[in-house]
Symmetry: D2
Subunit: 298 residues, 4 copies
Amino acid sequence: MIINGVQIDDTFAEAFPMRATRVIITAQNLKWAYHAANAMTGFATSVIACGCEAGIERELAPSETPDGRPGVAAMIFAMGGKGLAKQLETRAGQCVLTSPTSALFAGIHEGEKIALGKNLRYFGDGFQISKRINGKRYWRVPVMDGEFLTEETTGMVKAIGGGNFLILAESQPQALAACEAAIEAMKKIPNVIMPFPGGVVRSGSKVGSKYKALNASTNDAFCPTLKGQTETDLSPEIESVMEIVIDGLTDEDINKAMRAGIQAACGLGATRGIRRISAGNYGGKLGPFLFHLRKIME
Amino acid sequence: MIINGVQIDDTFAEAFPMRATRVIITAQNLKWAYHAANAMTGFATSVIACGCEAGIERELAPSETPDGRPGVAAMIFAMGGKGLAKQLETRAGQCVLTSPTSALFAGIHEGEKIALGKNLRYFGDGFQISKRINGKRYWRVPVMDGEFLTEETTGMVKAIGGGNFLILAESQPQALAACEAAIEAMKKIPNVIMPFPGGVVRSGSKVGSKYKALNASTNDAFCPTLKGQTETDLSPEIESVMEIVIDGLTDEDINKAMRAGIQAACGLGATRGIRRISAGNYGGKLGPFLFHLRKIME
Amino acid sequence: MIINGVQIDDTFAEAFPMRATRVIITAQNLKWAYHAANAMTGFATSVIACGCEAGIERELAPSETPDGRPGVAAMIFAMGGKGLAKQLETRAGQCVLTSPTSALFAGIHEGEKIALGKNLRYFGDGFQISKRINGKRYWRVPVMDGEFLTEETTGMVKAIGGGNFLILAESQPQALAACEAAIEAMKKIPNVIMPFPGGVVRSGSKVGSKYKALNASTNDAFCPTLKGQTETDLSPEIESVMEIVIDGLTDEDINKAMRAGIQAACGLGATRGIRRISAGNYGGKLGPFLFHLRKIME
Amino acid sequence: MIINGVQIDDTFAEAFPMRATRVIITAQNLKWAYHAANAMTGFATSVIACGCEAGIERELAPSETPDGRPGVAAMIFAMGGKGLAKQLETRAGQCVLTSPTSALFAGIHEGEKIALGKNLRYFGDGFQISKRINGKRYWRVPVMDGEFLTEETTGMVKAIGGGNFLILAESQPQALAACEAAIEAMKKIPNVIMPFPGGVVRSGSKVGSKYKALNASTNDAFCPTLKGQTETDLSPEIESVMEIVIDGLTDEDINKAMRAGIQAACGLGATRGIRRISAGNYGGKLGPFLFHLRKIME
């Protein structure tokens, strides 16, 4: 399969089950909603070392938020419910409760309820006030700038982590340009985040290492500088490879995001140095979610 | 003391010793240097819950970076050297090694050496190459987009955490406007970071709580909505209080940042609703660094 | 009428007929689409002195643009068709044709056709190539970075200029905060632009002046510093007034934008210093479009 | 001459005399200073069609501005003093006087005095107040959000327009990446602006055209798509060319900016597709300022 001169490999991305939640952060204006959301979703690129994977999903108009103020939706993914709840509580307490003019609400109402304001409320030292509106419980916690308004719980649902594709290009600036195009397009798809810095990861890894203490190491088959030293998967004209990793609520969400991203990357085309799209997998052993590139792009 | 109609309290901020390091992150352009630096310094508002306090110190011209590319300087503060080294390694590994086109260098050459590329290099699975230039050791680690270049070590120095001041205003938008003015001015001072979201914290705390499990709770004496329910420190016209916390390398650095910030906040003046500047302390018991507001503003 | 403690005056905004067009600017990524669009819509706050009023309407996903690349929609308003065509040609030629990687397309297909690429094509010095796709004519103009692709014409439609409302607050930072909230909300409404810097104008004018050469001068009745010197329209607690001007395709579009903006401004409420919403008019003489605040907010 | 694999042509940029001024725009915060400055310097890429060339020179700390607030310095260039004065007055009146919380000051004190607030003051309709501080005259003009403070005059000095260099690359994304690196570096050099969108122009022109009404047309010798149809100046591997135009106060300023920009572009190197740096000139006939690339890069 060839799109605009770019080869789509006959391969698949392999993804695994996670748990996810979404919260809505509002503030006096979008700038401060982003300050809180960026802090809360920072240092959250990979669940193993960071405890979760997190990102901003999208911007919300005042008409879309519970308190009629501007806001953003942020999503957090973890391997299990307990870890997710812990990360949510710590990150919300450190980065949203603290942030000027902010309020914090549930962004999913399905699934299992996990604590949002339920534990944060104790910061109020007994001065907090419970409020019930339309069957939902909120907390008003007195803080120095006024009150921190937060919903009692948010929903936790099943989700999928590790959707991905690789962009192979003739040079680093071209690979980066294709990634930027892909990320811009993917940000407009709901229910997904791309957890790495700017949405892109350039240090793809293989399982195992010659150093016993390490579980993972550089994916030498995809490193352009190692073409002569290892069994490479790269043809001579490929000089740079970048990967986009996607976490999403359902396989359909990840499908849509991968499709939008690959389409945008191929938009630059072979004449602008984009040569091949591939994906990372573990031979289908990790599973159970497989995203076949060619099926997605049909 | 009155500046532009704003009362400067006769009080002091109380700060404590920390350990700090600075790193330089470069990339193909500033946008991607910021992506890496924002990820690395995210979720780092308060050392107790986040493991460190971190922030971007400033933007660097190509002529100021080791590899002649655009970059940013980021600083990380922790309670001790071991914790700092651990946070640096994990955050650099997850957020800079992974980030497209990035390189990572020491930002301080004094003090004790701590690992920067020294451990990250093992990701290269034996393909990494050591390089010595002008007496400094670097590592070239093969990654998918080319190579990750990183310096062997960076310096760790004594530092100070917890410099702070409070802005008391007639309304929340006014307090926020004064904080924005203060943060813009403080960002131009070297050797300091303001670790909270957007540089500001609105949930000041007191030691202790009526809930035994909690060590800290809302500073009710500074909560405008609690004026009638607690022994308040606020006069009737104060309706919003925000705090700026500063970590810096020396007390002179924190002095300069506090001075610039208070000056900028007072620039709005009493006619724009800014009424009082105060500071948080523990009666001098925590110490040993005391920052007297009036001495700073003389 | 009172919303969240804010008085809505029993008055109306008065607007007048204009001509408008919309164009779509695409580029390699959004950053460069914005560079071109910001340049093209700069210095375009008021039609009398700038020749047109212009602004960015909204961001476009690749799936919404003719060439499948990221883009933005920009709108230009002028008093008549001839002036509009001239402004469009000059601004597109100076700011979009020149901008790296850009392409330029029609953003309205109704109304009268006016030249877009039709005249710009001559820059190609005879090397330009015509292309017809789905009944539309395009030009491919050779430039140094490759080709400038542009559509032959765009549509010009009837439109309305001068929708507006005033925010009256207890202080300048509060008025500004309410304007920021209003503008964020209004940017999400289609078919409108707010042509002043950041969407806001603080120098409202009255017709006439004591200096004969001037047709307009400061609206002294709304200047807080002139309360003692002129017949003021401001009560003692009002210390700052800001205005938002809206140009839109239809009165329904301006209605929606005014509603969203006033709602957002009132969201801050009287407790945050927002006291009154008013509007500017000429006693109904300029007309013919009248926007009654209370009818809009019903 | 070869830098990092990139050929530096043995040629020169040719520039011509202009007049220039600098103004300082301050506001409640940087965001609003930028709103005013971006509006004022918009649609100002080329003096012939826009009336002037303008751009933001740099950001200013509160300690660097006359009123101790955050600000930006903007520069305007025109062919003669009369045109410059007219552009300054119109643009300042439409884009700075109108912009919430702004103030406007001289940014150069040498040279001939031209009107800044001198004419804008009449907007105050007789309510404006003159103020003399340290020998400089200011005007306080009552406006709806409070007062517009502006200095009576600013300085106009001799300047140079049309410094430039060309970046020749193997593909459009690579040329763009090199331009972004160059612009980031050049923005840190004082006394210069790069007036095109994002600092870059991709539609280089030659004098004359086959259409008699046109004075300039596409520089076909540098258009990659015309290699087979015209006498090209491009070797087969060059597929994209972009230009950076610089206006500056002195030839030394332009020298420094060109040097910083070329250095940064060459930083990407031949391995990332950057192959050649050239410059635009008229055979030395336009003059009188010649910038020899190899001399600059020595």
